[in-house]
Symmetry: C2
Subunit: 648 residues, 2 copies
């Protein structure tokens, strides 16, 4: 290993690569091929074909990038996104060559459970900026990094390495348009155009015109020989200085460097056998001793001692002063969000040292109430059009590159439509604030396709996402401010309609100036001992109405606002079940939402009682929210009837 | 209403529209504008702007299509897909004009809960072939219909009406490529190019080159004046006879026909007030009496009496003879699926009267075992490339146009990535068989991005989807045959690895020649009274192993294979809880899968016992399935330890 080639390349700005550098890189490519080969044969699996075709691309990009073992933990530097994450052997080999990783560890422990060398590149590996593997996501991640660095007024560059088979995923085209609209000349893409995907030649699998697709979306398109460092460098340098988002289509050969692998789809996802390894090593001029060493190392328990990189960025944000909505005001939670956002914008926009807050919209600014922020903080507002997949990833990636991302959208678009992108944000540990409006049956007359009755049921499949479903504008205000000031992926979900302010029995706001939002804490809105109603969101004010009417009938109910349904506290379940009758009351799918989670908790805690789950049990109608809720059997009167019947 | 204009248009093949037809259509357009306007003002909501700009497109398409009130229930006819489903007022007006609907009902009951006139077009309305509203989905649905009609050797045409704002959704580009690859000259698209979306002019929201995008993907592109019947007809006729998939970009004016709405984004999603209505009616030459009548009708309870269209197609399929896998064979469930598929192909391919079975693949044919089917039934096999969003919708739509669709893919791609498309398939009541391989932690070394640990947790948010998670190759064989022979959306989910054949205690196959798959029935694989293990998929053989080892320790377990986790039978819960200790054992997210559903059922049935939920509690490692399962604490030994500890 020559530690100084990284330093040289990193500062190299010439039009052409020097003869000496070319020689060194060629030597490096041979060594890295050997390492990648050894990794996959040791692991008996892995994608060697594409790793070999991408090798020169990797060496140049990681060489040129201002991303070093020394600055890797700082996010104010160049970024590299690997979209074809299955070419991890090449990535780990090259990162080893440049001193980020130990090649012996990588060769031995690739794809071994517990080791930091996963089959698809992940952020826990030093030098990897985005966990990928699900194809077609990387360009949007790169665009997110590009936007974030731009918002921080930094001149850092983003390189995105892509495969050719993934070029036809729709999300790629969406991301291209975002880059062009935002003039991201700091993003440069390299496509490994080896013309082979798992099922064979591109033309046979799904014909498309690679070049025309990029041109149609307004990118500068370059072509280069992806195995010729001179050609590749010259073209890449031009692309980087083009002044527009640019792509270099790199003509490569699948399996390059190992004769029997070249141009054959078979080695897309198959490792060389021990015998094939011998032959390949001979061609690469190495020794098969490497494989023996790697296998011995792998058989040991060493992998457990190697630390993985963990990342959590610091944010500096002033979340402003809470707004108190008095009971004579009837407004919607969306507007309360919008107002809190404007406050926070005012407290941070243009103020030195504050973390930029990027707000993303998909053509619904008026409905999701980000219009005022867009006017007051124009440089922090991004109109993405009807392109939710790219938006989810752009916003997610940006948020782990030194900014806070906020994406407001209807529930079905911000979550149901992009569930997997939000799962990948979870895996990447991003810092996205997802504001979902129009959740539940409270969506206006749009009908079943627009009713997001699964937001709890979807987010409970994740491990990191937090979910808050505030009951009124006051709690919305506080939850939104808390979410923006707290690191991590947080979803705040709300309906469309105006709702009354939740009050204490004395008529003053329940969520008043003394209230501090605390994640996971339910609130006892009303007390009673005959029955406990557990609810969240706009069902809370209905439950309080029911409490009043039940009291008139001599029935005393507890009403809990369970605003964090993914993390219900033990106390709530204890207190609720003590009444002997628990009613969950939600405009969410009754088989996956609050009622389902309450069931689980009851069993877990051994707190038993009768449980009645009122919720959505079929796709809803198209009508006003009140009509639809009524037809679903979820009106206040229906709640009262059900409780009366069960207590009769 | 002139009932005969539909007949005339439907059989009209001239190059140009006759003067008489133009006059009639112009008159019709005025009437339909009036109706659409009345609908939205009566409902006080709805998208009038785009309805007015699409009106001539609607009149021509529904006029020319061989889709009549008489043949609408037969699927062997032309199809119309409305991708910009929010322009429902225009659709209902035109369908009323051509005799599909009653205009007075439509005007009165638009967007009223319980009525068959929802805010976005839905299949329950006569003349609507695809429920939409979530933008960017319609082209893929049209392509699905086109493929299905082609597979049935029918010459029927498919018209797709689209908005302009939705053109940039990635799924649109994916669908375009599928149409071109399959030479679908039976698909013609019309884009309502009014240049205005919710947030304003297209160029301001997200710049893109509409024409170039279609050209880059190989479509024939035409342009027409979308309000001039002569121009529109002539161009549409050329496009229909072009011999390639063709699109007509229709230059239109948002709000066309009502002066104060023309060209203003404000009326994209806002109805005219009563005052504005008066003014508009005067311009359209109508009487405001219509509005009075509509309001009176709406106030009555009449809507409940109007029947909605319900559709369930008949399929004729021979599911072949089950294959029995003997205990000396160790194979994977994927291969058992592949073999059953080949059998079914052989029993139906090329045989008159059988329903075509279309199999879709996204570049994973080898892994998901559809390669042999592709060879033996080439005309029924569709390689879609890495384009999962379009594939989900194409396959779904095709399956309600007279074919059976089967899509095999990895769990993360066939479900997590396209959750919303599968939700929309559910809403549309399609007949898709979704074969998910590589679910749970059993995915090879691909790591967390590829581990589908949420397939139960996702599908439980739906109402129509059925889910089967077979325990071994025998049950897979039977479940696959059952799913293909049964109408509806059915998912069969399995891991990647080879698994032993589940046997009875006597060593013969548990799922033998007498076994008939029955949806919702769990199977008692082993009996005992100390503890009940509930599992599915490849955890079943591990549980049987544990049963053996526990017996040696004097612990007697019941082992239930709960192969239909979304519908667990009461008997299973009863029997399991009687033991006093229930252990759910799954390689699925432990907060949303089998353990969660079992909790719910226990509370529902009041069957209590201690419940231990063994499952996935963090994102998994990259390693062999065995390594990953072991590290997650899910090995057989761990199961035994947990049970022993709880019984100690």
């Amino acid at each position: 290993m020559k530690p100084n080639i990284k330093e040289v390349l990193c500062n190299y700005k010439e039009e052409d690569l020097s003869e000496d550098l070319i020689r060194q890189l060629q030597k490096a490519a041979k060594k890295c091929r050997l390492w990648a080969l050894t990794m996959t044969t040791t692991a008996k699996s892995g994608h060697i074909g594409g790793s070999l075709s991408s090798m020169e691309m990797y060496l140049l990009v990681y060489g040129l990038a201002n991303l070093t073992p020394q600055n890797v933990e700082n996010i104010e530097r160049d970024h590299v996104v690997i979209s074809h994450g299955h070419t991890s052997p090449a990535a780990y080999a090259v990162l080893s060559y440049y001193g980020f990783l130990d090649p012996n560890q990588a060769m031995a422990l690739f794809r071994k459970a517990g080791s930091p060398f996963p089959g698809h590149v992940e952020r826990e590996v030093s030098g990897i900026d985005w966990s990928s593997g699900n194809l077609g996501q990387g360009l949007a991640a790169g665009v997110g990094f590009g936007l974030a660095q731009r918002a921080k007024k930094l001149d850092n560059h983003v390189f995105v390495l892509m495969g050719d088979g993934e070029q036809i995923k729709g999300q790629v085209a969406e991301a291209r348009r975002v880059a062009v609209k935002n003039c991201l000349d700091n993003v440069t893409v390299l496509v490994d155009w080896n013309d082979i995907q798992i099922s064979g030649r591109l033309e046979k699998v799904m014909p498309f015109n690679l070049k025309e697709l990029w041109i149609a979306d307004g990118w500068s398109v370059y072509e280069a020989d992806g195995h010729d460092f001179a050609s590749l460098y010259r073209t890449l340098r031009q692309a980087m200085e083009d002044g527009k988002p640019s792509v270099v289509l790199c003509r490569t050969i699948m399996g390059k460097g190992i004769s029997f692998m070249e141009g054959t789809p078979a080695y897309h996802g198959k490792a060389a056998s021990d015998e094939e390894y011998e032959k390949a090593v001979a061609e690469l001029g190495g020794s098969s001793e490497l494989l023996v060493q790697a296998k011995t190392y792998r058989a040991s328990d060493a992998s457990k001692e190697i630390a993985k990189v963990s990342r959590e960025d610091k944010v500096v944000v002033d979340v402003g002063t809470p707004r108190i909505y008095l009971p004579d005001i009837k407004t919607d939670c969306r507007s309360a969000f919008g107002k809190a956002l404007v406050d926070i914008g005012a407290a941070n926009y243009g103020i030195a040292g504050k973390t930029p807050i990027l707000v993303f919209d998909c053509d619904l600014a008026g409905s999701v109430k980000v219009g005022d922020f867009a006017k007051s903080c124009p440089e922090w507002f991004f109109e993405m059009g009807i392109q939710e997949h790219a938006t989810a990833t752009v916003a997610g990636a940006a948020s782990c590159s030194g900014v806070i991302s906020i994406w407001a959208d209807f529930g079905v678009f911000g979550l149901s439509e992009v569930y997997n992108q939000q799962r990948l944000n979870d895996i990447n540990g991003t810092n996205l604030k997802l504001i979902l409006t129009h959740v539940g049956l409270d969506v206006g007359e749009d009908g079943k396709t627009h009713q997001c009755i699964d937001y709890i049921g979807l987010l409970r499949n994740m491990f990191g996402w937090k979910l808050v479903v505030p009951a009124d504008p006051n709690q919305t205000d506080r939850a939104v401010r808390w979410s923006i000031g707290t690191y991590g992926n947080i979803c705040v979900a709300m309906g469309r309609s105006k709702v009354p302010v939740i009050t204490k029995e004395d008529g003053t706001p329940y969520y008043d100036e003394d209230y501090v939002f605390e994640y996971g804490k339910s609130d006892l809105l009303r007390d009673g001992s005959d029955v406990a109603i557990l609810c969240c969101g706009h069902m809370a004010y209905r439950a309080v109405e029911a409490w009043e009417k039940l009291k008139a009938k001599g029935i005393y109910a507890k009403v809990f606002n369970v605003s964090c349904p993914l993390q219900i506290d033990e106390h709530t379940i204890n207190e609720a079940t003590k009444t002997g009758l628990v009613v969950t009351y939600e405009d969410h799918h009754c088989g996956s939402g609050l009622g389902s989670i309450v069931s689980e908790k009851m069993v877990e805690l051994g707190c038993m009682s009768k449980l009645v789950k009122l919720g959505v049990h079929r796709y809803g109608d198209s009508g006003t929210a009140e009509e639809v809720i009524d037809m679903m059997g979820l009106s206040t009167d229906k709640l009262i009837k059900v409780i009366s019947r069960h207590l009769a």
